[in-house]
């Protein structure tokens, strides 16, 4: 057993030796601000990774990137068939309002839903990457949420076409889409980071989450108006449902986009609520994710 002799350092305990030469613990969690700085220096990777994932998604299909637009369109069509024509869930709304209402709801909810699902697998589905390269792990959930945002932008093209087809023409209020979707994006990133940490410990969540997300979808009034549907139930149920983040962001986008969907359909203080959800989940999710930074990738 020999190592190069080092007379001065002989007999020094490993920890003291490390301290003497200024060595740091490998893979230790950096401080919160240091972490944010590292993350910022990786911003180009985050962008490249998310758009690469998006491109790779449909590269085997013959129609290629056409599916970016075709997938949400077909989705909207299926829901319209079932909820619009068969179940008549659009009670209390004219057809000109209901169809854009439904399509908006689906797209906006899908944005959150797919961010959550991607978040669950962000770490557990990319262990190879986590174990091969060094980078702030928050890169992964953020990239995946960004990929969903890009996907949403494609859906917005479809959404604009639907809105115009049913008589809601572009107006200044459409600009409200930007803050509404930005707040939703921050909320999604936070939620994705929470799911990423939980999913890295319990990969089984990937099996469980579809059911949770479906329950959340039906409870958020994606395909019906909450106040109309729950008119004969105690008022607090409708209130709880309307202030849940998914419903808040959906209603804001509908309000921005659809002419016949006025402010009377929105709960009070809706922008403050949207901001609050974004801040609570954005900051909370980030800190929660960062707390376990050094443990991601454990076998």
């Amino acid at each position: 057993m020999s190592a190069p002799p080092s007379s001065v350092d002989e007999g020094l305990a490993p920890g003291d030796l490390a301290a003497k030469y200024g060595l740091s613990v490998s893979g230790a969690r950096p401080g919160l601000f240091e972490y944010i700085r590292e993350l910022w220096s990786r911003r180009h990777f985050i962008l490249a990774f998310s758009s690469a994932k998006l491109t790779a998604q449909y590269s085997q299909a013959k129609l290629g990137q056409v599916w970016q637009v075709a997938t949400p369109l077909l989705n909207a069509l299926v829901y319209y068939l079932i909820f619009g024509l068969i179940l008549d869930a659009g009670r209390g709304m004219s057809k000109e309002v209901y169809i854009p209402f439904l399509v908006t709801g689906i797209f906006v909810f899908t944005f959150t839903q797919s961010s959550v699902m991607a978040g669950v697998r962000a770490i557990s589905g990319n262990l190879g990457l986590v174990r091969a390269l060094h980078f702030p792990r928050a890169t992964l959930p953020i990239s995946f949420s960004l990929q969903q945002l890009q996907q949403l932008l494609f859906s917005l093209v479809v959404l604009a076409a639907v809105a115009i087809a049913f008589g809601s023409y572009p107006s200044l209020s459409w600009l409200l889409l930007i803050p509404a979707l930005f707040l939703q994006f921050v909320f999604n990133v936070g939620l994705a980071m929470i799911m990423a940490r939980m999913g890295s410990k319990t990969p089984d969540l990937a099996q469980l989450m579809p059911f949770v997300m479906r329950t959340w979808m039906y409870a958020s009034g994606v395909m019906f108006s909450i106040p109309v549907m729950l008119a004969d139930k105690p008022a607090w149920i409708a209130d709880v449902l309307m202030y849940n983040p998914a419903a808040v962001y959906m209603d804001l986008v509908r309000f921005a986009l659809i002419d016949g969907y006025g402010a009377s359909n929105l709960p009070a203080h809706v922008w403050a609520t949207a901001l609050g959800w974004a801040l609570v989940f954005g900051i909370g999710g980030f800190v929660y994710f960062w707390k376990a930074e050094e443990r991601y990738g454990r076998g």
Binding site: P14, A52, L133, G297, G299
Partner: protein, 262 residues
Amino acid sequence: MADTSQNPLAPTVICDDVHIVYRVNAGGGGKGSATAALSRIVGKGKAEVTRGVRKVHAVRGVTFTAYRGEAIGLIGTNGSGKSTLLRAIAGLLPTESGKVYTDGQPSLLGVNAALMNDLTGERNVILGGLAMGMGREEVQTRYQDIVDFSGINDKGDFISLPMRTYSSGMGARLRFAIAAAKNHDVLLIDEALATGDRKFQIRSEARIRELRKEAGTVFLVSHSNKSIRDTCDRVLWLEKGQLLMDGPTDEVLKAYERETAR
């Protein structure tokens, strides 16, 4: 500590009684029937004790110190914990107990996991470079070097085709070219030497020697005693996760060859 960093006897990596444990979900394979799984869910059990999870103790109490300028080979039979130890040094795999101290951020030579087969070679070069922590401009300036080094375009314009269309040798060459494009303080190489055809092997060995010169310390995991002898001056012999021997290359390799020849 600027004054000590140039000292040739300054340590760059210190492993202090490192233990690494993998936890494996034995999934459907273990106690596999649906009724057994159901009774497991119904009957309460702490996550650690649950029968589905098995622990694999891959590295058991390894202690050593590596110094600036050393090239250290890691040898041992399959499953002896060599790659696992490398990952722990790189800070990619958390230790169960014990600590790994390093000077700067050691990097594992390899970007395979960040690349996507459905994307063109061109986009993969950019993605891989960014994944290793290069800036956008740095990737742009090195792009041509990487492509030339890989030799992907020797037989036509392959760099603009998806990576899944490459032959396995071509893919390996491009991956190595991307990974070797960056200089590292502490460089960890996991059997990356034997990729591609003979021509490319010579080129990649030359590149590794270059990287070695620039790096402070090099760790090399390999099953080829020849490449260990060519590159390393110190060897760690791991067996069943324990450090069996640590010493000059000749001494350790002789003992290792005696042991494996039996």
